[in-house]
């Protein structure tokens, strides 16, 4: 059945997202908050995250290119990004934010630049993977999404 295949794909995709370290337990917590009154809750939260994080990454890039560098501001921006990433369970993003913050603390501009590039790559990859995941979920339908999310 096409439906069974879809559900298998969803479970497999989600397992991969966790196994490869893109997501952590917070994503499961979000899925548990989804119900009939808010059937698209997780996708909405993800959309909020990507809206926030895109803006923050742009601001970080602009701040890094300013001279003299304001490491306090950079740290503050990345702290916001880290917090936002934590809310959705974006583990790799969160970890890279910690690396960036350590570079800020050391006033290591080149380290910050490398870290920013990595954050941008992780961000793009996570966005693409989650878009595929949500696309599959939409095909299954909201009622069965709750069942899939238990895995």
């Amino acid at each position: 059945m096409e439906y069974s295949n879809l559900r298998r794909q969803i479970i497999f995709m989600k397992k991969n997202l966790f196994d490869q370290g893109y997501l952590d337990e917070q994503f499961n917590q979000l899925e548990e908050l989804q119900d009939e009154s808010s059937p698209n809750f997780v996708e909405e939260v993800a959309a909020l995250f990507f809206k926030d994080s895109s803006r923050l990454l742009t601001n970080i890039e602009q701040a890094i290119d300013k001279y003299p560098q304001d490491f306090y501001r950079l740290d503050s921006l990345v702290q916001q990004l880290k917090g936002s990433g934590s809310s959705i369970g974006a583990l790799r993003m969160k970890n890279e934010c910690s690396v960036f913050k350590a570079n800020c603390n050391d006033r290591n501009l080149e380290g910050c630049r490398r870290s920013l590039q990595k954050m941008k790559r992780e961000h793009a990859t996570l966005k693409q993977k989650l878009e595929s995941y949500f696309q599959l979920l939409r095909q299954v339908g909201p009622r069965d999404y709750a069942v899939s999310s238990r895995k």
């Binding site: 917590q29 979000l30 808010s38 909020l48 995250f49 702290q79």
Partner: protein
């Protein structure tokens, strides 16, 4: 006997964190009335102007205009005894101490979840 309505003030500048916290509160059984404040200054105003006292304040640390430490100090300075729970992603001992010194009753880490809020609501007998 009808359960008392739980009134919560959620103080958090990031929209995504407010959305998640609101949903987690509702799931934990504490989301009857949830007011929001996007920074500490607005939080102090909400507490001062509230028609009825809040049962719980969830206070973020890092916010523009006025941070969570200062907002907590000012709310306590008004003689308000509502439980204030500090929320921060850092959780460093110095952060927790600063919040408790300012007058917070407890601390929990971000991100908020149904489980964490359930513990908080039970601790302050709001569940």
């Amino acid at each position: 006997m009808a359960r008392k309505m739980i009134r919560v003030l959620l103080v958090e500048d990031e929209e995504i964190n407010r959305v998640v916290a609101r949903a987690a509160l509702k799931a934990a059984g504490g989301g009857d009335v949830v007011d929001e404040a996007e920074n500490g200054e607005v939080a102090v105003q909400r507490v001062r102007d509230a028609a009825a006292p809040y049962d719980l304040v969830l206070m973020d640390k890092q916010m523009p205009v006025m941070d969570g430490h200062e907002a907590t100090r000012r709310i306590r300075g008004m003689g308000v005894t509502t439980p204030i729970v500090a929320v921060s992603s850092d959780g460093l001992p110095a952060d927790v101490d600063a919040f408790i010194t300012a007058g917070a009753d407890d601390f929990t880490s971000k991100p908020l979840s149904k489980e964490k809020l359930g513990v908080i609501l039970a601790k302050f007998r709001l569940a």
